[in-house]
């Protein structure tokens, strides 16, 4: 009888997954396999290759060496004059500035959204997220049209008679890259800050003000400590991808700026120097690990997740 067969099957399934370990395997197992195949395995390969050689036939030679790390800083002068070091420092600089700019722009808006809520929140979030329904490349290209000596910004300023010749600031370069990266990662900062501010007890803010604290003191001593997890998680979400960016600097730097992602990409495309690329990438990986370690020193993982 099919009914009896179904009941038996159901009993067998219940028995098979009665143990906690088997239930865990079923729920967590696929994600774990995914992480191992697509994150841990490539990362392990990259770390391994950073200690190996590549011969003239572009094949990996399994002879461990530290030469790849030395070659990063090789050059005629001291190591701080090497192109790798300069590119790395520039990447940190641009990622840091982008993070600060995102924080400065997102914090007031997140505070307003947390105080107002309701319809204001929905409208603002929709407007912030609307550009993200298009492909990132399209958005980067649209910024390309804005900048440049005869881009939309300079053309408008010259047409209005505000300037008589193109403003160098609105040409391609670091400023344009910072604008592009800020535009790309602003929502991550906004949403992280909003998640923290939404849980803030604003009566504490009112109490501080009633007790005579100035706005700056209230911000510094009450608001910032309470929303620190949001600030840190938002900063990580902006800093980490900005550090390794290469599409935005390619469009908006017009080759005059060489960030570490571009340097690695060029090495691999031109020379198939995956050993060099692996060693260079380790600096990014290690700095990201350090950033997370510092973050966890001040906030717990539950706080970062907004729990």
């Amino acid at each position: 009888m099919s009914t009896g067969h179904t009941s038996e099957t159901r009993r067998q399934l219940i028995r098979a997954f009665s143990s906690t370990r088997r239930r865990l395997g079923l729920t967590v197992g696929p994600s774990l396999v995914w992480l191992m195949l697509l994150l841990l395995a490539p990362l392990s390969f990259m770390i391994a290759v950073s200690f190996l050689k590549v011969n003239d036939a572009y094949q990996i030679v399994y002879e461990p060496t530290l030469a790849n790390y030395g070659n990063l800083f090789a050059g005629s002068g001291p190591f701080w004059q090497s192109s790798f070091f300069q590119s790395l420092v520039l990447s940190y600089e641009l990622a840091f500035v982008t993070t600060i700019v995102c924080l400065a722009l997102a914090f007031p808006l997140a505070y307003l959204l947390a105080r107002r809520g309701g319809r204001t929140f929905k409208v603002v979030i929709f407007l912030v997220l609307l550009p993200f329904f298009t492909m990132y490349l399209v958005r980067a290209y649209s910024w390309f049209l804005m900048f440049g000596s005869n881009g939309v910004i300079n053309s408008t300023l010259m047409t209005l008679g505000i300037v008589s010749e193109p403003v160098k600031l609105f040409g391609f370069g670091k400023f344009a890259i910072i604008v592009g990266l800020t535009h790309a990662y602003f929502p991550y900062m906004l949403l992280s800050l909003y998640a923290s501010l939404d849980g803030l007890d604003f009566s504490l803010v009112e109490a501080a003000r009633d007790l005579g604290a100035s706005r700056i003191e209230t911000l510094r001593d009450i608001i910032v400590p309470l929303v620190l997890p949001g600030i840190i998680s938002g900063s990580l979400f902006v800093f980490v991808p900005s550090l390794g960016a290469f599409i935005t600097p390619r469009f908006l730097g017009q080759g005059k700026v060489l960030m570490i992602g571009q340097l690695i990409e060029n090495r691999i495309d031109s020379l198939y120097a995956i050993n060099y690329g692996g060693a260079a990438s380790m600096f990014i990986v290690v700095s990201i690990v350090i950033a997370f370690a510092l973050a966890f020193r001040y906030v717990s993982i539950e706080d970062l997740g907004g729990i």
């Binding site: 036939a57 440049g148 000596s149 005869n150 080759g255 005059k256 495309d269 031109s270 198939y272």
Partner: protein, 374 residues
């Protein structure tokens, strides 16, 4: 007691759980079968996978009908990416790759490509003698040829005639203070350093099988490029970006390929002009190669033969604004089209310095990085 058939339903007319599961399972199997069909290729025809430039996809239907084959075309934007893809294991995924000529020796060195089956490429015999010569030198190893030239072009300097009516026909214009902030240099170590080397008179370096600048020559080229940097609007490699920057007025003079300018002329931009510097011109040509791991090598070479046939070759030249290496394609182009991307004075070909592999490319890339970070 309710029957199992109506279990979970309110009135027995909506779908019950068992029926839903059966239907969902059937839909899943049907979907997977369809997907497998898509992945597996059509019928009994061989499938040829090609990694090539965008416009090659325009002739997919013609070739499929002509050879009774299925083509899967992946569009690439740079020879470097084609090479690194092949080198990282994707040579098993593709049958044909069509990078610039200087990447064929790299693919050869990496033992990734198969020798030409000349019987399958009869159109090779109609090619310009110069390109047969290039194929026999650059694309050959151990007496066997490994690539077929398809189209070619050359590099030079393009300029806005409205801003620069009569430039000097020299690379020196890219270092001219008069054009400060309006100059574009090519964003590639090979082209930028080679152009600078020709400007500085190091033509001997281009005579061997590989380009070989001495350490001192490379240092001079690097220094020259660093001196140029403050005069630049930027470095651009991609054709559409170069054209957009030109049309937007972001630059008035730059190092570019001829095909970008032909495209602009074809679109009615008659204010742009182009010259080949007196110091020498770098010429590129596409090299079509078949993967060593291809299961359909003969058919792959037949497909390549179609790309240099008089009819499709002419259309390909028109699509990419670059002449075919087969002069017979001129029969299928109008006089105006031949003037732009068809007929080429054979004596011009003699003056070409073809792209070549670099003797010490690691040093070139390091020098280029020093320029970019200066």
């Amino acid at each position: 007691m309710p029957s199992h058939d109506t279990e979970g339903t309110s009135d027995g007319t909506s779908t019950n759980r068992r029926t839903f599961m059966k239907a969902a399972g059937a839909a899943g199997v049907a979907g997977l079968s369809a997907a497998a069909g898509c992945l597996g290729g059509g019928g009994g025809k061989p499938t040829i996978n090609i990694y090539t430039w965008e416009e090659y996809a325009n002739f997919k239907d013609q070739i499929e009908n002509s050879l009774d084959v299925k083509l899967e075309i992946t569009k690439g934007t740079s020879s470097a990416k084609m090479f690194s893809a092949f080198n990282s294991g994707q040579d098993a995924q593709y049958d044909i790759v069509i990078p610039n000529n200087n990447y064929i020796p790299k693919l050869l060195d990496a033992d990734l490509i198969a020798p030409v089956q000349k019987d399958a490429v009869p159109n090779f015999d109609s090619m310009y003698g110069k390109f047969k010569e290039f194929a026999n030198s650059q694309f050959s190893k151990g007496g066997e040829m490994y690539g077929i030239p398809i189209r070619f072009g050359w590099y030079g300097i393009s300029y806005d005639t409205r801003a620069i009516p009569d430039p000097k026909h020299s690379y020196s214009e890219l270092w001219n203070e008069k054009y400060k902030g309006n100059i574009v240099q090519y964003d590639n170590h090979f082209k930028a350093i080679s152009g600078t080397a020709l400007y500085l008179g190091f033509t001997d370096a281009f005579e061997g099988d590989k380009v070989s600048l001495t350490t001192d020559q490379l240092k001079q080229c690097k220094q020259k490029l660093i001196e140029e940097k403050p005069l630049l609007e930027g470095y651009i490699a991609a054709d559409p970006t170069y054209i957009k920057s030109f049309e937007q007025g972001n630059h008035t003079i730059g190092f570019s390929g001829r095909n970008e300018i032909v495209e602009m002329w074809s679109n009615g931009d008659d204010w742009v002009d182009y010259f080949v510097p007196d110091e020498g011109s770098l010429a590129w040509f596409e090299g079509a190669a078949v993967s060593k791991k291809s299961d359909n090598k003969e058919m792959a070479w037949k497909v390549i033969n179609e790309y240099i046939s008089p009819k499709i070759g002419a259309s390909l030249a028109k699509a990419g604004y670059s002449p075919s290496c087969n002069p017979k394609t001129q029969q299928n182009l109008s006089d105006a089209e031949n003037k732009l991307y068809g007929a080429v004075d054979p004596s011009r070909l003699d003056g070409f310095i073809p792209f070549k592999a670099i003797e010490n490319e690691d040093a070139w890339v390091s020098a280029w990085e020093d320029v970019k970070t200066a």
